[in-house]
């Protein structure tokens, strides 16, 4: 469904992405892991078109994104940002239905509110928070509202940027479960960035580990333990000795 071909990107002569190649099949949940500063967020932003790569191409169903156009791509796509990234000036239902009342085929406020309510229920929240503003919600609730916004327009592809960081273990478990359920029941293609291996195991079908600007290892989540890749083994063990050097 999504093919990432030889993406390169450097900032101020520092190579961050050195030729990333990655394929994600339709309906598959891909988890991207890797140390801090290895360029995982940059990779997501490149796919989204928020950052222009130096070279390389992204394909969606064998069509280059530059041909499909970003608008067409974004219409089929949802994203959960790391901090939720809810709009401070809008209340919960306006946040969830943001795209629905604006994009093509826009709907009226009453319908939008109803859909927002459904999506809110889907992420396990009660409708009594529909009128609240993001600043009145806890971090875990913001994440869930962000999730409701990401699925509001029934996307085919969803990105999750570190969905469990900053949450307590129980809330992290709840979010993992929700993401897994939603991915399965909506049949979406998902790409998740995470440092949290428990989360990776809960959400993913496949894993890609990024190191030195390339995909160092990729395979099924069930094959993680069987791998003898020294980089992966060190990452999984969280050990400071091994081929991964802490340079900065």
């Amino acid at each position: 469904m999504i093919s990432i071909k030889n993406i390169k990107k450097s900032f101020n002569q520092v190579n961050v992405l050195n030729g990333i190649n990655l394929d994600v099949a339709k309906g598959e949940s891909m988890v991207v892991i890797g140390g801090s500063g290895t360029g995982k967020s940059v990779l997501l932003k490149v796919i989204l078109g928020l950052i222009q790569p130096d070279s390389g191409e992204i394909f969606l169903e064998d069509q280059s994104l530059s041909h499909i156009g970003r608008e067409q791509f974004l219409a089929r796509f949802g994203m959960l940002f790391q901090g939720g990234a809810l709009f401070d000036s809008l209340n919960v239902w306006q946040n969830i239905s943001f795209r629905l009342v604006r994009g093509n085929g826009r709907i009226n406020a009453k319908e939008a509110r109803e859909i927002a309510e459904q999506k809110l229920q889907r992420v396990g929240l009660k409708p009594d928070i529909l009128e609240l503003f993001p600043s009145e919600l806890s971090g875990g609730m913001q994440k869930r509202v962000g999730l409701a916004r990401a699925i509001a327009s029934n996307p085919e592809i969803i990105f999750f940027d570190e969905p469990t960081t900053g949450l307590d273990p129980i809330m992290a478990g709840v979010i993992n479960e929700l993401i897994r359920e939603i991915v399965v029941e909506m049949g979406v293609t998902a790409i998740t960035i995470t440092h949290d291996m428990a989360s990776a195991r809960a959400i993913g079908d496949k894993v890609a580990m990024i190191h030195n600007g390339i995909v160092q290892w990729t395979g099924r989540i069930t094959d993680l333990e069987k791998s003898n890749d020294p980089y992966l083994i060190q990452f999984l063990k969280g050990s400071s000795s091994g081929p991964i050097k802490l340079t900065s």
Binding site: F77, Q82, D88, F98, G103
Partner: protein
């Protein structure tokens, strides 16, 4: 060799900051061009526009009104004491009027709004930038310039002339109150003098200035906000830059426009 080093160590920072300044001017110019190009293409976000007009225009009324009131009063006293030196106390109404309408109304109104609005726009958009809300907007197929910049720019460009017009009236009223209470002017003579003296061109030139100043305030707030980075500190810096640059640009534009209308 050492003198060469000394000279270059003094000149280098100057050269660097001059180059940086030109770079920033170029970027702001491009930002203005991009904003203007979005004016012409839908979609338009009317709800954002009306709420911006309320927040920026209506809520600035007390600040602009108070500034004008006291400026008008002080102006009457100053002109009276200056005029008394050549027995021309009677010029107070006409000079208060022309001073407020052509110069002090728009400039002080613009500067007050710069302090109040450029800072709040920069802080709001800067926070949106660092909390990824602007990225979120883009992924929800909404252009930040259309959704954030255009409503704010339109709101200040429309609101500031209205604020200044109200401020002019309040400023003249301030001069009037001081003149009849402290300087023993006759109220109806004062008002007739004011009204007979002012020309329509005085008023329109002041309001055109105000409109330009409004545009400057929102553009600077949006530019610095949307380009902020580096967390809370970056937002603070963006806020300062927005206020300082819009104030300096207002004073610069004021001189240029005054030359133009001279």
């Amino acid at each position: 060799m050492t003198t060469y080093k000394a000279i270059s160590s003094v000149l280098r920072p100057v050269g660097r900051s001059t180059l940086d300044l030109f770079q920033v001017i170029g970027k702001i110019f491009l930002f203005v061009v991009e904003t203007l190009s979005h004016f012409l293409r839908p979609p338009y976000y009317w709800k954002e526009l009306t709420s911006s007009i309320f927040n920026i225009g209506y809520l600035s009324l007390p600040v602009v009104g108070l500034t004008a009131l006291f400026t008008g009063g002080a102006l009457a006293l100053q002109i009276y004491s200056g005029g008394a030196r050549f027995n021309a106390e009677s010029v107070v109404p006409s000079i208060v009027a022309i001073g407020m309408v052509r110069e002090l109304g728009p400039v002080l109104g613009g500067l007050m709004v710069a302090g109040r609005v450029a800072s709040s726009i920069a802080a709001e958009l800067g926070t949106m930038k660092v909390t990824e809300q602007i990225d979120a907007l883009k992924t929800l197929s909404t252009h930040p310039i259309k959704y954030l910049t255009i409503p704010r720019v339109l709101a200040t460009t429309i609101s500031l002339p209205i604020l200044v017009a109200i401020g002019d009236i309040i400023g003249i009223l301030g001069g009037y109150l001081v003149a009849i209470n402290r300087l023993d002017f006759n109220g109806s003579v004062y008002l007739t003098n004011t009204i007979n003296f002012l020309e329509i061109g005085d008023i329109t030139s002041g309001l055109i200035k105000a409109s330009v100043f409004g545009f400057i305030v929102a553009i600077m707030g949006c530019y610095h906000g949307q380009n902020s980075n580096g967390g809370a500190q970056g937002v603070g810096k963006a806020t300062i830059n927005a206020v300082v640059s819009s104030s300096v640009l207002i004073l610069t534009a004021n001189y240029l426009l005054t030359e133009l209308f001279f």
